[in-house]
Each structure stands twice: as C-alpha cells, then as structure tokens.
C-alpha cells in the first residue's frame, strides 16, 4: 500500500510502513501513547548507579509522577530495562537472559558511564568487564554520568517516552569492536621484580 507523502507527514512518519494487508496507523499510535505512559521498569541493579536509581524512586525525585514507578522484580512483567551499573563479563549472560525474558515491545536505558561504554573501568587490556551493554542488547537511551543524578535518569526516561510516542524506539546495538583512539590512559603492565632484591633494600 503506497501512502501519499503528505499524509505521512501529517502522521509524523517519514517512511512508508512495511507492506501488510491492513495497517492501523492510528491504533498503533494510540498503543504507543499508552506504552509510553505505563512503562514498567525491571528492578535490577548492578553497581553504584543502582543506588541513584533507588533514589530516583524514593520520595524526593519520585519517578511515579511520570507513570514509571511500577517497578517489577520479574522480567516477564516488565518492559523497560534500566541497566544501572558495571556489566562484568560474568554477569553479561544473565543480562542477556533477562532481556530475552522480557515481552516485546521492550526498551533499554543504559544508565551511567559503565553501561554506556565501560566507564572508569575501561583501560586497554582490561579483563573483567563488558564495555557497554549495547554490545549485546539494543539500547534506546544513554544517560551519561558516574553516577548520573536521578534528574538525569528522569530526563532519560522522558526522552524514551518521546521516542516511543513518535514510534522511533527501536534501539540500536553498537559494532562489536570499537577501536578507541581516545583512550590514552597508560596501560603499562609491570614485570615481576625479584623478591631477594626487594627484601634487600627495604
């Protein structure tokens, strides 16, 4: 079904939808509106950023104001995953499993430097962490900070709402290997020193 570009523009869409027998644009928009305003996040903390996530849920910042306070402990009841903290390599499979267990449509927010790109634990030759959750699951919104303030988290979720309402919340994964020329932290691995020598001089 071809649609007149004028009509598309009116609906806030830039592309024709995939060809189907029948397309319910308006219904889909109504759904999206509902989805955006009833996000159910998964209770899920990995490290320091999770504390700010909790603070976001507490009285002062009160995430519930915007309709995303229904925090669910089970992935099967949640549609928003807030990855809050460092992803260790041991934890990565569990996060993937959790993500796979969530029903679609589902959204992911990478909260903090660690979930975005490895944060302060990234150095050339690191062995413990996964440098960014977008390497294994698609991410919709990145919230920078170490840790981001609860206000930043709120801004991130509002941004996600906007994406959902506009029907653009597909998320993206990053290419597997990013050669990062920016990271110039020295990674001088020492050689072992001789014990006898060490004892002699101390």
């Amino acid at each position: 079904m071809e649609i007149n570009p004028k009509e598309l523009e009116l609906m806030g869409k830039t592309q024709s939808p995939p060809p189907g027998l029948v397309n319910f644009f308006k219904v889909e928009d109504v759904f999206n509106l509902a989805r955006a305003h009833s996000l159910w996040p998964l209770t899920f903390g990995l490290a320091c950023c999770a504390i700010e996530l909790m603070a976001g849920g507490a009285a002062r910042f009160d995430m519930d104001r915007f309709g995303f306070g229904v925090v669910r402990p089970s992935p099967r009841q949640a549609d928003l995953m807030i990855v809050a903290g460092t992803i260790s390599r041991k934890m990565a499979p569990c996060i993937k499993t959790l993500y796979d267990q969530m029903p679609s449509p589902k959204y992911v927010i990478a909260l903090g430097g660690c979930a975005t790109a490895g944060g302060p634990f990234k150095y050339p030759g690191q062995y413990g962490i996964l440098e960014g959750i977008d390497k294994i699951i698609p991410v919709n919104v990145y919230v920078p900070g170490c840790p981001p303030r609860p206000e930043a988290l709120l801004a991130g979720i509002l941004e996600l709402q906007k994406q959902i309402i506009e029907g653009k919340a597909q998320g993206r994964t990053s290419p597997a290997v990013v050669h990062d020329s920016q990271d110039n932290r020295p990674a001088e691995h020492k050689n072992a020193i001789s014990r006898a020598e060490f004892r002699k001089t101390t």
Binding site: E52, K90, L98, K190, R199
Partner: protein, 542 residues
Amino acid sequence: MPTLAEKDIKTWLLENVKPDEFLEKDFKKSGILFEAVVPSGKIRETAAEFLAQGYFLESLTAVDFAECFEVVYHFNRWESPPKRCCVKILVPKEENKAPSISSIYKSANWFEREVYDLFGIHFTDHPNLKRILLPESSAIFPLLKSFKGEPAGSDVEQSLKLIEEDKEGFEIRYPQTITEHQKEYYLNLGPQHPSTHGVLRILLHLSGERVLDAEPIIGYAHRHHEKMMEIQTYQACWPNMGRLDYVGAMSYNFAYALLVEKAMGIQPSRRVEFIRVITTELNRITSHLLWLGTFLMDLGAFTPFFYCFDDRERILDILEMVTGERLTYDYFRFGGLDKDVPADFVPAVKAFIPHFKKRLRDYDLLITKNIIFQKRTKGVGVLSRENALAYGVTGPCLRASGVPFDLRRDEPYSIYPELDFDVAAAKDGDVFSRHLVRMQEMRESLKIVSQIIDKIPPGEITLGKLPKNVPKGETYTAVEGARGLFGMCLLSDGSLNPYRLKLRTPSFSNLNAMIDMVHGCFVSDVVSVLGSLDVVLPEIDR
C-alpha cells in the same frame, strides 16, 4: 594480658616453627607487629596455634615475584592495642602448590579460592578449589605479572561465548535433584533478585521450606580494581576508592589516604583531620540509612524506605555541597583534602542534627518497637562468637554478637582517640541485634559530629606538592568502614604505581559467614539474614 598473648605467639613461633625470616616491625609505620616467613609445611600448624590463641584471619593474599609467590596471611585479635601480625610462606613457581588452611579457618576457604582465581596457586586439600570471582571457564590468572592484558574486543567475544555456555550449561548451573520423596531440591536465588542487593547468587539446598545448605556464588560484579591499581598512578586510584563500597565511600577514601600517608611518612593538618572525621561519620549515617530502608523493604515494609531516603537526601545535600558528588566520593587527597568546606557547611550540619535526632526516635517507635518486625528478626540467623572468629567477621555484625571490637577505638587513627563515643554492641548475634547495633551506631556517629562541628580548627587543606611515588616497602592500614574492617595492604616497589595493593573488604568475610547462619532457616529468613548483613556486592567482588 594482651602483652602476654602477643609474647606467647611470638615466642611460640620462634621456638616451635623456627621461621626462615623474622622481622620485628614498627606498628606505627607498617601496621603490623612482626612478619615471619615460615616453611610452607608448617603453616597449618601455625594457623592452628593462631586460632587457639583467639586470632582471626584478617586477610589472605599473594604477591607475584620473579622467583616465587609469597602467600601472605594477616592475623589479628579483637583487642586493643591491636595485635596484627603477618605470616608468609614462599611458594616456588615450578611447584605452585601451598597447603590449605581452610579446615582450620573457615574464612580461608574463600580467600584461598580467590588467590587460586587470581594467581593460579593450588591449595592442596582445599575442599572446593574453583574460580570465585571470574567466570568458571576463564583461562587467565589476571594478577600474575606475566598477564599483560587481553586483546581489544575480547570483552564482546568472551561475553558471547559465555552466553552460549550459559544456555548449554543450564542443567548444570541449576541442578535439580529429585529425591525419593521429592522433598529436597535446589533453589536458585539471584543473581537478579530484588533482595540480593545487587548481583549475588545463592544456591539454596532445601528440604521443603527449610534450608539445608546455602552456597553464595559471587563475582558478578568483579571490576578488576586490584589489577587496575597496579597500572594506574597512585593519584589515579582515587576514583576507585569511591566506587568500591559506594554506599560508604568516605571510609575507603580515609583508608587510602592513611595508607599512603603512612607509607610516605606525612601528616595532614588538624583541620583536615576534623573535616575527614565529620564527613566520614555523616557518610556512615547515610550508609546505615540506606541499609535500614532496603532491609525493611526486604521484610515487606515499604514506608521506612521513603523515610530513610528522605533523611539520606538531606545528608547527601550537605556532602554534595562539600565534595560535589552525591555518591561516589573521591574527596580526600594525600595529606589533605580536595577542597575546603564551604561557609554554609557548618550551619547546614547543625540544622541537620536536631532533625535527625527526632527522626531516630521515630524510627525506634516505628520499627524497633514494632512487634511484627521483632517476630521476624529475633532469634533468626544467629552468629555465634566462635563462628565470628572462624570467619573473621567484623563491623556491626561482629558487635551484634557481643564483641565490642571497633577499630575507631581499638586501633585508633586520625582524631578518634580524642572523641567521646561508645562502641555499640548487642549480645544475641541475631538479626534483631544487628539492627539494634546499627541504630545505636547512627546515634554515636551523630554524637561525634555534634561534638566537633563547632571546633574545626583553622589550618591548611593540602600539604602542597608531594612526590608522586611511594617509598619502597610494605604497609598495612585498616579503618572501620560502615560494614566493618577495611584493610589495605600495599607493597610498593618505589615506582609511580603500586606493585600490589590488596583490598581486604569486610563484606567478603561477613557474607562468607552467612553459610552457617542460615542452616535450618526458612527461605524467607534467608532474605532477612542477608539484609541484616548489609553487604555491598561490588565491594565483595572488587
């Protein structure tokens, strides 16, 4: 009495074990009384004697030298003045084997697994020698000096491999043994579970609702702090200190500042000491408040969470005013602080003190006197003195078992000896006692703050330019963090970065002791025991 005991162990060592090397140390400069290198065949005998004399195993680690490994044991006693001593054995590289002392000290079980995991040293007769922090299929021993880092992109590769393994090994990872009556089974708690405080996994062996055995599985938040610090300069390690135990980060700042100051032989000004103590105690209150809120939430009470976070935010505002950060502080510097406190600081703290006093009364009325809460927590998860000793438990958990051991009083650092405060203790060792101790500690911290908030003396905030390297040598420092004894063992080769920096974190040993606390409990009590231990996972996994 104390001096006698010290003499005892020293003379006992010299007479019976005949150490290969024996060094008396200056406690003020190195943090230990003496250091003995014993033949590795005699370490079990030595450990048994230490246990008999009431020492606990504070830390166990290893150092990689060119010709051999050094396995380093630190023993300490619950008394003042401190009795920390250091015993070492040498493990030749070709042999790579050391005797296990896990049958003597229960805490050695995890410590030895950690050393095996990071260094690849085998402990003979260890009941369960497998990886503890890294994934089981790892092929690296990261703290070896011959390990030069992984190639770029290996993080994704390895994660994908682990995801595959995870799918295949599902049956092995979640064993289902069905016995005749189908009463005994395994239940997997975590690593994603709302009441495991992050990413702890506990494998419970159950009979009906009763716990027969529990195996905590850790390492899901391993962030290679120790390897990172060997690569960074001393100054660049500050952010790590804010992120180890992010709930009570100030104490960790304190420990690192003290450690390097001790090694360099410098002393900060009185003003710095006062500000350090005030911020640390305020941070201790936030840590306990966070614990109180989440602990009660685990037990099913939602309201205290909001109350506690409300008070916590007030303190965070004050600390943010000083440090610029809400959570992961790196405020201290060697010989000083990052910046001076602003003019509003003192009035803000003074306004907070009466408010919080009133709130503490509310908490007591709402929670401590609540009959439902008492029924859930009294007599549950008892930690006996013997187990506390065998597991090396410290902090509020130890004090709840009737041992008033607090480094702020027993191994005083900074200006703590001048302050008037009590060491909170309770005697039953159950979940309720741990609650009482923490409530009391908040009161004591507040007392400390109100004592000195008016007396901050003028003085310099920094010592100016300091050398970038730390003199060669070994230094040990411990402070009382919000969760217990946090120790740092630094081996410096005189260069710009540490040769080896061992972080002895309290929750590691405290969580280990949980294994014995939950025997015979109901599943729901496991949650309350775990909550009462107040563990922070990234601090355990480092």
